[in-house]
Amino acid sequence: MRNKFTVLLSLLLTLLVVGSCGKKSGADEPKKIAVIISTLNNPWFVVLAETAAEKARALGYEAKIFDSQNNTALETDHFENAIASGFSAVLFNPTDADGSIVNVLKAKEAGLPVFCMDREVNSPEAATSQILSDSYSGCVTIGKYFVQQMNKKGKYVELLGLVGDNNTWARSKGFHSVVDNYPDLKMVAQQSADFDRNKAMEVLESVLQANPDITAVFCGNDAMAMGAYQALVAAGLANKVKVFGFDGAQDVVGSIKEGKIVATGMQYPKVMAQTAATFADEYFKGKRDFPKKMPVAVEMVNQQNVSDYLELAKN
């Protein structure tokens, strides 16, 4: 009698376990989307992460944000965790264009689509789609304005971002595709300041010692533009040297209004994040023909149109 009871109890428990497992993977449970971000130590990426997660939730999915802290090893852990925990897609801001490929491929092997946001991985086949600022075209527009503001002549300095970052070169190439057609515009120095404000200040201070007669600085992002401007103020050259940035950061847009910075390129992290989440939703519904790369337009902000962008930059 007691044996019969034990067998029945075991059967019941087994049925319960099987039943609960079935429910977990059932159609009623919302799919889970992992938002894996290079770093949340930068407000720009926080906006990217939170917008992606918000949009995913608005589309009816669960969303969880993972911070890679600019560490590819930690990023690998997040991918493994996402795969093991039953996530169905990854909205991804890579830590390293080359180093992150292996993580994307791991997800792909596990059947998870990966949608890159803002930063790309150097593999055309790894990610399902990569939604990126059109940095090249944005800097073509800035390059054109640069030539106009310089009256086609003068000495200038270019401050590059991280030399290993694809955005650094897309911006530089776009700028030079215009500016290099004007032989009287002479670049006296091209140095990396790693997208960092303090480093940009130090680099420009050093460059100014040998080249006090420059009339413009083109910077690969807005943090460097602010650092360059600080160096020019310290050297008493702020009114003589034109500074150009890229990003659309609030302090630079404010500085354009005040006449301290000449122009920047406004990027749209929210558009990139929302598009990535929408693509994931479309993927779940059966779509497969996504563009490998989807450029998002960058708009130039200058003195003439800055009032259009003051509110946007705050957000």
């Binding site: 059109d134 090249y136 527009t141 749209y268 558009v271 563009p291 490998k292 989807m294 450029p295 337009a297």
Partner: protein, 212 residues
């Protein structure tokens, strides 16, 4: 002892087979030629696009005065039905045509007043700063999936713009003067959120003086 000899002989043969099949020797010129075959040729692509797509496609260009009227009265309709762009965002491109009377020949552009006179709008025909994606995108027939990477797309724009700067503009600039009437086709870039119709710049595709 004999068995050992057979073992070594078999191992040597296997080693030779594996070694032989692991190494391939090709002429460097053949490898370079094969790589070049797969490389995207932006110049050729731009030339073919110009001749086979853009030139016949100009027949579909929007009449600029009519487009401006629509943009003022129903912006959403104008952007939805007549603008194109390979990417996403606020910047959109229109393929346009028009006739204008030259009011000024400037260093970097030529100002024209659109005809008929009742339109009363001045636009600029770019003659110096012909850059960007307006002409590539305005026709609306290219797809982002036509390109395997974004640099190819950028290079197509660069080649189209170079053709305009070197072949279309110089003969026109050499002849055009104030009060001449010009028939033009081209592309314009407009921001659908921050729309400004008072500073329209046309990237020209064709420029013909019809009255001097």
């Amino acid at each position: 002892m004999l068995k050992k000899g057979i073992k070594y002989t078999v191992a040597l043969i296997l080693l030779l087979i594996v070694g032989y099949n692991s190494v391939y020797i090709k002429k460097l010129s053949e490898v370079k030629a094969a790589a070049a075959t797969g490389k995207f040729d932006a110049t050729l692509y731009a030339q073919t696009f110009w001749q086979e797509k853009l030139t016949p496609g100009l027949a579909k260009a929007n009449n600029l005065p009519e487009l401006l009227t629509l943009l003022k009265s129903d912006k959403e309709n104008a952007f939805k039905n007549y603008s194109h762009a390979l990417g996403i965002g606020n910047l959109r491109y229109f393929l346009i045509k028009g006739i204008g009377k030259i009011t000024a020949s400037n260093e970097n552009d030529i100002s024209v007043t659109l005809l008929p006179d009742s339109v009363g709008q001045e636009v600029k025909l770019a003659t110096e700063f012909v850059y960007g994606n307006a002409v590539r995108d305005a026709l609306g027939i290219l797809s982002i999936n036509d390109f395997s990477n974004t640099m190819d797309m950028n290079n197509v724009s660069a080649e189209i713009n170079k053709k305009i700067r070197t072949e279309i503009i110089p003969p026109f600039r050499a002849q055009a003067k104030k009060s001449d009437v010009v028939a033009f086709t081209g592309a314009i870039e407009l921001n659908q959120v921050h729309l400004r119709l008072d500073e329209i710049e046309v990237i020209p595709v064709s420029l013909n003086l019809i009255q001097k």
